[in-house]
Symmetry: C2
């Protein structure tokens, strides 16, 4: 494995690490579905012949193309509803927010494929916070409209090329610079200020946070959408020494302070924090294009969950 | 224990949880100092008599006033230098950044008391990222100037009243609303917009992120400076149903999405995210006032590490 491949493997392993840590600590009850291995290869032919798909049919069709799937351990489980439900339409999104659910209902789509959790923690443990009224109301809303949510996180990152990264590169107009297996691209030289403007305009982002000299020239870009955590982000910065590291979300005590200190010590690596949701949304938008020919006849729409914040 | 006390206990326990998880996973080498129990009660009298203090003297003087100290497990260890070093001056700060270190050197202060990590991860594991050039250069800078860093996190939160919370309430002008042991205060009714303005002005913060209706009236405020994590933040929101929850940092997939969904489902609870560093800095500023009479003759200064970001 080269460094980039190792980093990608660690991105997946990180999720396992979190899971193992939680299990070892014994503090959290895992949802029953957590260790379930989705069934593959069943009824795909029937679905394609009849043009009628259950949730499980769609999942099977997707998993057939993911290297190593099904995984023994993954957070990519059904979070709401029933795998046998007939799908009336699919919505892809980052976070299956209450707004996204209501919009899906309006579109008569009863299957949401979401990249991130439904219930406010990585494993979607519904007992993580006792007596969570918001969570209960969300479950009632989902039940009322018989909406199925499936998380498509580990598998989409394990696809080659990584489905999220590919979607982001595509939307940013950077596909021609992409080298499979790499988290670094080299683009024509541009100032950090213009790079930030390009990210905001091309990805439809209103506000970002930056550490760096805005007049600095950038060519080598480390790009890790989402919230991969400091260990992965800092490792990429150390291994590749890019001009700028672009990520979705940081722990401020990890990557932000590392970059701040690094620059004070002479490193050129700047940091752009796009926001978690908006940084990966293009990957769930790209999923529509990827999935549509694989489930002909099924209506698929992307609904952006969007930046939750007002910036003041 | 009432709910607030339970929450406070969990704030401390969370750190233990993280530590246990890391140990159980076996993936990370703990620094040797991690389990060290600082010595107490030694040489305090000598220090007070001579007006000359070692680092350990200062730590002992502080720990005498922390309930339950010394803790068997804590991240509050010496991160750089030697406990026997004579202290020429103390600097308190949130993050011992390279800028803070250089400023301390200028002030001839060789002991930094920092609330947050020195080396970009919670346990200050220096092997967390292999071949970390930035970390090595920082260690060289510290060694060159013989700077000792001690972390004062778990103990300052365990002080009664919590040293960080008290400092923030003091700086925000909210001490008169404070009820010991509570993470909620009731203030005269104010719009969310005016509350945000007050936080920015009184705490010296340039930018914040908000989820909520800016015209909404706020009286009951849940206040958890720093990055306590979604489980603690959401538990407070559920238990207390405040008008607004003010925090330092969130995981976007936890508290931010919980608040966004909650409001879409009729909850009134808004969210203000101040930034990790700036949200707790007043607690390290307050430490100067608290500590000075306990170490007469020693120069103590607060240096704010500040918001690392440019907001664009």
């Amino acid at each position: 494995m080269n460094k980039s491949e190792k980093l990608h493997t660690r991105l997946i392993e990180r999720r396992e690490f979190i899971t193992n840590s939680i299990k070892a600590a014994g503090a959290i009850t895992l949802p029953v579905a957590f260790l379930a291995v989705p069934e593959t290869g069943r009824s795909n032919n029937r679905a394609l012949q009849t043009g009628s798909y259950t949730v499980q049919d769609v999942i099977n069709i997707i998993l057939k193309e993911i290297p190593g799937a099904p995984f023994k351990q993954t957070v990519d489980t059904i979070k709401s509803g029933n795998a046998d439900q007939q799908v009336t339409g699919i919505v892809t999104t980052m976070f299956p927010t209450v707004d996204v659910i209501r919009e899906a209902v309006k579109k008569n789509a009863n299957f949401i494929i979401a990249h991130e959790p439904s219930f406010y923690n990585h494993t979607d443990d519904t007992k993580w916070v006792a007596q969570n009224d918001v969570l209960k109301q969300k479950q009632e809303l989902l039940q009322q409209h018989q909406i199925v949510i499936w998380r498509f996180h580990d598998y989409w990152h394990a696809y080659r090329p990584d489905g999220i990264l590919y979607g982001v590169l595509k939307k940013a107009g950077w596909l021609s610079y992409f080298q499979p297996g790499k988290w670094v691209i080299n683009i024509p030289s541009v100032s950090l200020r213009d790079l930030v403007d390009h990210c905001k305009t091309s990805l439809g982002i209103s506000h970002v946070k930056v550490i760096g000299d805005l007049s600095q020239k950038c060519e080598k870009i480390g790009l890790i959408p989402g919230g991969a955590g400091g260990q992965i982000q800092i490792t990429l910065a150390e291994n590749e020494k890019p001009d700028v590291l672009i990520v979705g979300e940081v722990h401020e005590w990890e990557t932000a302070e590392y970059i701040r200190d690094g620059r004070l010590l002479g490193s050129k690596t700047s940091l752009v924090v796009l926001g978690h949701s908006v940084s990966e949304e293009p990957g769930m938008e790209w999923l529509v294009e990827w999935l549509q020919p694989r489930v002909p006849g099924l209506p698929i729409t992307h609904i952006a969950s969007g930046d939750p914040f007002i910036w003041m």
